[in-house]
Symmetry: C2
């Protein structure tokens, strides 16, 4: 229910798409062809959001978004801005065996139009295509962390491939729709200097820490989070801290620090003996987490603080991800539910950091982060020099 | 001192201006002519930032920033990308009597190049020129709140004047360099719906509320803030709440709600009897604020809460600015120093809001907010269709 815009207050004619300020005249019109790879939860949410926005973007921003195709790991559907693309993409319509380069070529149609690929897969194989696509002038937008946090050589190749003007954006890789990567860029591009990053980048671990008060064993909370869908199907992906470490790598590189995932000091909450087990067996032995977690909580209580899962990039370039005891007055002690928090301390923001906080996961907000990246690229197609 | 990028960690060749990803090839190069109106504290900080960034922007982004002139309320200096522009702008060099339209024409040079005017004045007379400049294709970027929170007719005229492609940006009008206006735009442009805005938009009042614990009379704190330069020269500009109300109007309009300043319910902390006095006399009678403020603080203590200066835009479109008693567990209760806070509650961010927090005033961060707007416009000049 939309409760935000009651008719007695809002004059609809006053609304116009803010980014573009006013309905554009004819010479401002442009077309952007979009192909989606990975029609999972985030990808489907994005298709819905794009589909809903299409008429408004055309009317108010002069932007024709052409949704040209969907590809999953095995098949692709090459539609020509089919209005049913969204709902039928998993239906019985014609598909072809997946071929990502053919898919890109279809979206780009031999350079006749601006083309953009959205990678909503979590696949390293898809990420491996980025340099080629970008070099061919196809923009890439993605919530997939594997390229931006993967091997440095590929990361450099991707950036080099942008020299011709194609854009690679990945805001949604860190805290979904929260403005984190763009905020860091704006700081640096305007001449600020990053001193440190402190954050809570895992909604799952934030929730577990918020709830872990000693009333229930930690394993019971993990089971509850698992049942609520707050964890990955294998909760070790959250508990290992690896996903958080990837986000730290992405922010470090954004600041020009060539950090690799292996250089991040990660304290896993998963006991070594449980790391290699099948997931069902891991879930059965979950109570092995209880004693160490109870000890950490007791330590926090002794010191009058709280336990939080903190990612840190310090001014020496050292990166770490670990459970930490924080004073009760610390900003991270007051976070709620599954909130993510990011604090940038910089030359300009040195007494108090610049802080962004809020829900940092979920298909709708992640898709919105991708969509915002797409719009920022669309903006840059707007004005002819 | 730059402590963030020690040489043993950072490979300088890895750094490239993030926004533009890689050094652009020749066809990506472009020139943006910039004129500054209002070389005060923010304007001077901006000139320094632009001057420092010029070589990097040219090298890494292919962007030639030409600083073409400075105008204050009476005079203008028309330099042709004079490298000494910054330091000499108040010196003995040649100036002419101020003529803002001639100044704009000089920067634009009859449409030969992309042109952008930065208005760092706090002048309504300057704001009155925006529609004309924008209609002529000159971009406008400003921290001046008077246009975006001023008469609705002018605001509409400004937006209409953007139909030809000129851009009007004003991120720094709300919380200086914090990403507030752009964040709201991204939410709305991707199809989210604003339910409410809660914020603390005055660093001065945040500081006063943080310090106001009953140990000292409120007037002593106002005197201290005044001496520290935390207040305007006339502290009533802060205490009246009018400046905060303007920020609320700007955000409401960004969301498409045609709010006027007169519609905001503002609770002034200035007793009516002191509103019309000369500032020296007001400062002498400052202790008249003590009894009402002590009473409010006592009420907060009785209710176990804290006193905060809160701006609110609710889902009925009602806007208010007032001192409020908040529970001790409220996010605003934990703010520090002169922090600003903004919370957007939307359809997608409904359980927990999206929150941005940090220092929201000061010449350097305000100038950086203006600079980020300028870069975003420069980006949109980048790729030829």
């Amino acid at each position: 229910v939309n409760v935000c815009a009651p008719s007695e207050v809002v004059a609809p004619q006053a609304f116009s798409l803010s980014r573009f300020m006013a309905p554009p005249d004819a010479r401002q019109r442009r077309t952007l062809a979009v192909g989606l790879i990975g029609p999972g939860r985030v990808g489907s949410a994005l298709l819905r959001q794009l589909r809903t926005a299409q008429p408004r973007l055309a009317r108010e921003a002069g932007l024709q978004l052409k949704l040209c195709g969907v590809a999953d790991s095995r098949r692709m559907w090459l539609d020509h801005d089919d209005p049913e693309l969204n709902t039928r993409s998993h239906g019985a319509q014609t598909w072809r065996p997946g071929d990502l380069d053919a898919f890109a070529a279809h979206v780009q149609r031999a350079g006749e139009r601006h083309a953009l690929l959205v990678d909503c897969s979590a696949s390293d194989a898809v990420a491996a295509h980025y340099p080629r696509w970008l070099a061919a002038g196809v923009h890439v937008v993605t919530p997939n962390k594997l390229a931006a946090s993967g091997p440095l050589e590929r990361w450099h190749a991707i950036r080099q491939a942008c020299a011709g003007g194609a854009r690679y954006r990945y805001e949604a890789t860190v805290c979904a729709g929260l403005p984190v990567v763009q905020t860091l860029r704006d700081l640096l591009d305007t001449g600020d200097e990053l001193h440190s990053v402190h954050g809570m980048f895992s909604g799952t671990l934030a929730w577990l820490c918020n709830r872990h008060d000693g009333q229930q064993p930690f394993s019971a909370l993990v089971r509850e989070a698992h049942a609520l869908g707050y964890t990955e199907p294998d909760p070790r992906e959250d508990l290992s801290g690896l996903d958080v470490a990837r986000k730290l790598v992405i922010l470090a590189r954004e600041a020009g620090w060539p950090l690799s995932l292996e250089q991040v000091e990660v304290e896993s909450l998963v006991p070594p003996g449980l790391a290699g087990l099948p997931v069902e067996e891991f879930m059965q032995r979950l109570d092995q987490l209880d004693a160490p977690m109870a000890a950490k909580l007791a330590e926090a209580h002794t010191r009058g603080g709280v336990l939080r899962h903190v990612a840190k990039l310090d001014h020496h370039g050292r990166a770490s991800v670990r459970l930490q005891v924080l004073p009760a007055a610390h900003a991270f002690a007051h976070s709620r539910l599954t909130d993510n928090v990011v604090q940038f301390t910089t030359r300009r923001y040195c007494d108090n950091p610049l802080q962004v906080q809020g829900p940092g996961a979920g298909p709708e907000v992640t898709a919105a982060g991708v969509f915002a990246d797409l719009l920022r690229i669309a903006e840059s197609l707007g004005v002819q020099a």
